[in-house]
């Protein structure tokens, strides 16, 4: 029932904030994995079952665009939806991400509700059968922290 989530961001504090936001969103979380760049994310994918990836674009070693390219080109990973959480908000970059197959796009700065809404949307599209048993999205008392 629960979803295994991977967050890739070179900022440890941003990973912690995203984790907290996801936990408060009501999405049932199984395992929560973290990576500081695309290379580390690939290593996590090779060794764990992951249901959704939340990734920054601007990271050292391997950035988010390269990670996305690797994911969609790999038969084992291409089923995994990838959502960008990033400051890179130019139309060109967003179009490129869309063309490569990104499942969602969240611009920093963000409010928790945005992550929640897009995460639900992406998970619902990818895992309709598992989302059917989840509480409905909406008035749940807010997500302030």
């Amino acid at each position: 029932m629960a979803f295994n989530i991977l967050v890739a961001d070179d900022s440890e504090t941003m990973r912690a904030v995203v984790k907290k936001t996801v936990e408060m969103s009501g999405v049932p979380i199984g395992e929560f994995h973290e990576a500081a760049n695309g290379k580390e994310a690939i290593a996590v994918l090779e060794n764990n079952w992951i249901d959704v990836i939340l990734s920054d674009i601007n990271m050292p070693e391997m950035g988010g665009m390269e990670l996305l390219q690797t994911v969609v080109a790999n038969d084992d990973f291409k089923r995994i939806p990838l959502i960008f959480i990033t400051t890179e908000s130019s139309e060109t970059r967003m179009e490129e991400a869309k063309r490569l197959g990104v499942a969602g796009y969240i611009k920093k700065p963000f409010v928790p509700e945005t992550i929640k809404a897009i995460l639900y949307e992406v998970l619902a599209k990818a895992y309709e059968h598992r989302m059917a048993d989840m509480p409905p999205q909406g008035n749940d008392g807010g997500m302030d922290f």
Binding site: D10, S11, E12, T13, P60, S90, K108, P109, F145
Partner: protein
């Protein structure tokens, strides 16, 4: 510097601080005199470069108290639970978010590429030197003055 660009910089930084850190910035549109400025006990510095059609960099100088305050708000934890590494990481991420968001607004075609931000304790902070810079932006906060310097074409 173009007035519209200055305004966009003021608005973008204010939005980042309010949305992510629940911290309000009051832009100082006129630079106060040196006598009017209270210099904090210590500062953190973050630098981020961008390259492309135009190239340049932004330097952020945050009073220690402000840096700790936004880290506490960002992580949603008690002040005693915040360590130096988290503060430096938050200061770095602030530069990343602020300038990344700014480039998205002034460069919709994505011709400019953002570098990786760096942060450190600003041991050589000099208000006199910064006040002489043409690309200086100042913001009042509840924890002292935030200094932002733009250097570029």
């Amino acid at each position: 510097m173009d007035t519209n660009l200055r305004q966009t910089i003021y608005e973008t930084l204010s939005e980042v601080f309010e949305t992510m850190y629940f911290t309000f910035l009051e832009p100082l549109f006129e630079v106060p005199s040196r006598e009017e400025i209270v210099v904090a006990d210590g500062y953190y510095e973050a630098v981020i470069e961008f390259q492309g059609e135009k190239s340049g960099r932004f330097c952020f100088y945050l009073p220690r108290k402000l840096a700790r305050g936004i880290t506490v708000n960002f992580l949603g934890v008690d002040a005693v639970d915040v360590n130096e590494s988290q503060v430096l990481d938050t200061v770095r991420e602030t530069a990343n978010m602020a300038v990344g968001c700014l480039l998205g607004r002034i460069d919709p075609d994505g011709t400019m590429k953002l570098g990786l931000p760096k942060s450190q304790a600003a041991s050589a902070f000099s208000a006199d030197e910064l006040l002489a810079r043409p690309g200086l932006f100042l913001f009042n906060t509840e924890h002292g003055l935030l200094w932002v310097v733009y250097e570029g074409e």
